[in-house]
Amino acid sequence: MDMQDTTTLRVRDLNIWLGDRAQRRAIIEDVSLDIRAGEVLCLVGESGSGKTLTGLAIMGMLEGGINFAGEVLFGGQNLLALDETAMQRVRGNRLAMIFQDPMMTLNPVLRVGTQVAETIRAHRRVSWAEAWREGCEALRLVGIPSPEERMRCYPHEFSGGMRQRVAIAIAFLHRPDLIIADEPTTALDVTTQSQILAQVQDLSAKFGTAFLWVTHDLALAAGLADRIAVMYAGKIVETGTCFEVLSTPRHPYTKGLLNSVPTALEKGARLAQIPGAIPSPGSIPSGCRFLPRCNRSTAQCATDPVTDQTKSHQFRCWHPLEVSA
């Protein structure tokens, strides 16, 4: 029971699919996640594996025509059951999100200050002047120099890194319990990326903010995550602590991902690849969905592997890799 009390986000059997009953094309299948208070969970996977959609589903921001089912328990309520007005009160308040491309996330025709202050006013009854002043402080907090001036600027006067800082400042405005970060540093260069990561880590430590950090960058996950969930074709195939997943991967897909990361040690050696490509929704094989690309498969793999939900380190595979001592 103790564990349950500190759980910030609990996703249970999240399913997302396109089309009606006759032609159902699953995008996300039976995804379950737990994020404890202040914890960083990295959701890792290739493009198209459904990471971003999982984040949007938690935010209640799936577009019309996309069906979903399951439970997203957050702050004592099931977010998926809330109506739009109730959800608006949660978004940007207890639950925030930052997006991938900082060049696109700010409205080009509105002042940065307006875009910060309106978020404050969306959740609290304060005057514009008061919201503006708080906005200045928020920008200062993420390391934007002379925020009073910068508040009056437009997004095009900011660099990519500065814009992402603004987005982060907006996400942290109401000291949320959880921030969903959809590859927020992918579009930035390496030095900016590390500055922003350090900033985010500082802030989340300060305010006890938990993160669902979506990324395809395993090196980043290694440095950031408390726990890692590996997603493949709409299913979570392996979860565990950062150390468990990265040092003793059990699922062949996780192993393949790790082998695809270039290292300095084996210079000139050909990078390992996972053969084939991720299946698109509608063409997902029954049974283990990694089967067509796996070199360990047997007849048993034609049925969907089950996971041991009681363990910390879970993997969805009939023939897991051995833990090498």
Binding site: M61, A96, M97, M104, L106, N107, P108, V109, E118
Partner: protein, 323 residues
Amino acid sequence: MTQAVILRILQSIGVILVMTVIVFIGLHAIGNPVDVLIPSDADQIERARAVEALGLDKPLWQQYFYFLQGILHGDLGRSFVSGEPALELIMKRLPATLELAISAVVLALLIGVPLGLMAGIYPKSLASRLSVGLSVLGFSVPAFWIAIMMIIVFAVNLGWLPSSGRGDTVRVLGVEWSFLTLDGLRHLLLPALSLSIYKMSLVFRLVRAGAIEISRAEYIRFARAKGLGRRRIVMVHVLKNILIPVITIVGLELGGTIAFAVVTETIFAWPGTGSLIIKSISVLDRPVIVAYLIVIALLFVTINLLTDLAYLILDPRIREKMA
């Protein structure tokens, strides 16, 4: 910025000069206004006197030279027909035309923008699909036909609204206006509406396309993630981005409507510059025609300048480039 404005003004002076030359030569080629003006039983002496009085006995280049001299003194010549100063004739008529054109554009915006926003945001609703269908009609049916149909329905059959003239007017700032009286408004409604149908469709389409495109933008997604209400997202985040193309079209259309409200003015017997220019062309009243074209050209230039200034207010990126 100032440089751009000065350049624009110089350009328009050039355009106006070329235009006046073309009009002089063109009207000279069409015929001699004296033949239209003097009674058919007038004798040679009367005719010669009339020709001399109008200055038509001089060679064309000299007439043009006198005309240019006049302009420098702010004199655009006198009407061949009434002898009144041409500019005065036009200025007396211009408010009626401006009133009609502006009403048409305002009507187009008042109806086109909200409908377009709705159709862009709820594309599947019945009202949206209906508006899309109607806008195709608005595009393709000619304005004069709509005007005639409106007269038949609202003026003749139902008898709700008058079909000709300006009705009662009120004098404000030395100019007569119809839209300030109830009777004037009743007279204004049909011509303004028939003139605005096309513009309304245009604005509707533009706003709808913009709303659809911008709703998909990443910054709208971020705005939702911030917990903003739908009203703030649509009325501020979406609308402000759509206004730039809409302002462009409105600027172009306003100029066009002022210049080419001729047909509508004729149908509704609206005493604006349109009906004046039609009459002047039929009697080859060159000073009035030239003065009219100059005034219209100046209006066009002014409206285009205002449009550009509106960009500066709306789009910070352009503001920076101009600075």
